[in-house]
């Protein structure tokens, strides 16, 4: 209903944004491609709350009693597991989709905060390696820039099978973002669209994956932890198979996870939310008696220390942030609102990362725009943000009486909606009812 004219009733089936998309499609003949992650309203960690300590539990003193946040990742088979000060890590994002300055900022920020950052499609840049104390090297289907020297230079290897924004989909870096340097790293001509494959070129299925992991370990002297990253769909089976194939760490990325460029229909309609994905992954690990032996990293829509705490309470060992990290660097900043408006968007709404004309200078290869991001300042902002997430996480963990954030557990939470109770496997607030459990 319009506030100006109460007799005008907007259709629930055809609201204005749906009408606009039909009109756009009819005009252009092409589907909508964009970046960012799912924008639709889905059950999230906001639908859970913690049960702070009271008579039956006692809390820890804020700022005084220790609540440890250190995390060790990859100690199943690797000689050199990853040690981090905080369970908040930086997700894989490519040089190509991001500017060199943005990648350097992520490395600087992660290092300041005592955590890891991750490469992306297109390979490892010297700036990124140089400014990242702990760098995870993504091993992707396209193998753009894939170099065994970089594998050996990395601190861990993440085999990417999919991502939450587009499980089952590849990617496309459009020609306008293919600078000479990006083209050279990817062995392709300048200015052409670069298709990133949706599946690995030299193996199919979990039995092959096991041999691929063996090869990667042989090439890196069994030193580097091997992560396997999946987009959240059939999480229970995918995690089970990744563990069976020999992963040290499994990364599960929910449908809110971001991307540099994919069809809107893919982002909004493929994959499941992060909330049920965590529970399903933990159930798979527990059934194999591998919980806490193979570590679980969860990503997709992590924004606050509350999100981190809830993911950990459901059984994750760590989380990854991508979109939130870019916002911390300066993405969506009101400072650039006029420029966002000039390209048909606004601060807080910008999602056309694929266009390469990012006013904040982050998702671009335009040297003039990229100069707008100072990597030292960007790194500082990111470190500040990660530190805030970690402090918030500790605050909630202490309130539940936990001296290590990994001591948080599902029993510390209840759900505010039936959907969240069913997805997370915790009781609806005020009841002992978990929909779907015990035949109820």
């Amino acid at each position: 209903m319009s506030k100006d004219n109460p007799t005008l009733i907007e259709s629930a089936t055809f609201p204005r944004h749906v009408i606009a998309e039909i009109q756009r499609a009819a005009k252009t003949g092409i589907y909508d491609i964009r970046g960012f992650g799912a924008k639709r309203d889905i059950p999230t960690f906001d639908d859970l709350v913690f049960l702070g300590a009271s008579t039956s539990r006692y809390p820890l003193e804020g700022y005084r009693e220790k609540c440890t946040t250190e995390v060790v990742l990859g100690n199943r088979f690797a000689k050199n597991p990853i040690h981090l000060k905080t369970p908040v890590t930086i997700a894989g994002m490519s040089f190509g989709s991001l500017s060199a300055q943005a990648k350097e900022s992520l490395g600087r920020g992660a290092t300041l905060a005592g955590t890891s950052t991750t490469t992306g499609d297109g390979g490892m840049t010297p700036e990124e390696r140089g400014h990242s104390k702990t760098l995870i090297y993504q091993y992707l289907p396209s193998r753009y820039g894939m170099n065994p020297d970089d594998l050996r230079r990395a601190d861990a290897i993440e085999i990417v099978l999919g991502q939450g924004a587009k499980p089952g989909g590849g990617g496309m870096l459009l020609g306008q973002k293919i600078s000479p340097r990006v083209a050279e790293m990817r062995n392709l001509p300048e200015g052409i669209d670069q298709r990133s494959a949706c599946r690995h070129p030299d193996w199919t299925g979990p039995d092959d994956l096991e041999i691929k992991i063996q090869e990667l370990r042989e090439i890196t002297n069994w030193e580097k932890p091997i992560y396997v990253k999946v987009g959240a769909t059939r999480v229970f089976y995918d995690v089970t198979l990744a563990v069976k194939a020999g992963a040290d760490v499994v990364v599960v990325d929910g449908m809110q996870g971001g991307t540099a460029a994919t069809q809107d229909v893919f982002i909004e309609h493929v994959g499941i939310p992060t909330l049920p994905a965590v529970r399903m992954a933990v159930e798979a690990l527990q059934e194999m008696d591998m919980h806490r032996k193979v570590q679980l990293i969860v990503s997709g829509g992590i924004r606050s220390g509350a999100d981190v705490a809830k993911a950990l309470a459901l059984g994750a060992d760590a989380v990854s942030i991508g979109t939130a990290a870019l916002i911390a660097l300066g993405d969506q900043s009101p400072e650039f609102d006029d420029e966002y408006k000039a390209i048909g968007s606004a601060a807080g709404f910008w999602d056309d990362y694929q266009q390469g004309n990012d006013p904040a200078g982050i998702t671009t290869q335009d040297p003039e725009l990229a100069k707008r991001l100072d990597p030292i300042l960007g790194g500082r902002r990111l470190a500040n943000y990660i530190n805030v997430l970690t402090l918030e996480l500790q605050t909630l963990a202490r309130a539940c009486g936990k001296s290590h954030v990994h001591n948080l557990e599902p029993e510390d939470m209840v759900a505010l909606t039936m959907e969240a109770a069913a997805m997370a496997g915790v009781p609806l607030a005020g009841t002992s009812w978990i929909p779907g459990k015990n035949g109820m």
Binding site: D149, E218, I219
Partner: protein, 224 residues
Amino acid sequence: MATIDLNKSTIRELNEKLQGGSSGDKFIVNNTVGKHALSVGLTEEVDVEINGHVGYYCAGMNQEASIKINGNAGPGLAENMMSGEVRVTGNASQYAAATAHGGLLVIEGDASSRCGISMKGVNIVVGGNIGHMSAFMAQSGSLVVCGDAGDALGDSIYETKIYVRGKVKSLGTDCVEKDMKKEHKEELAKLLDKAQMNYAVDEFKRYGSARKLYNFDIDQVDEY
């Protein structure tokens, strides 16, 4: 000359020894019985002769080394090779030289499907036939086929050059026959010589990208 018997040594011990070799060192590997990930991640100019069939990913990510397999090779032979030379006297299974950036792979027998998939600079010479979807999304380097090629050769190809002596069952999307110019004949002659394949360059046809799919165009959607 060091000999490693895989009845007595583990794969880890084998690779550790080969990876620790110095330029000019020679190794012989026996009793492979189809084991996986043999002779992977080498970085020096060593010579490795493998007697027997090998499993997945033999010579994976090779740099500088010369590796000869007297037998057949499983999937992913010389995947992501960067440099050096790998030769197999028998046949090779799927995805040979997948995503390889450099060096030379010689397959004296036949290669299965997806040979040279996403190749990024490697040169491949196949003495026999190759299977379907070979050189899919191939980016650069050259693929020489002395026999016949299967279906959908060079589908979605970028800048790789394909030379085929025999018949091509079908070409993939955006792959077309191209002129054999002087520079192509010279390149082909050199590759045949290095691979020790005794064929006349005039017997080959060249295939490559029509470059119609290089930038997304809605009018090309029927191609898929």
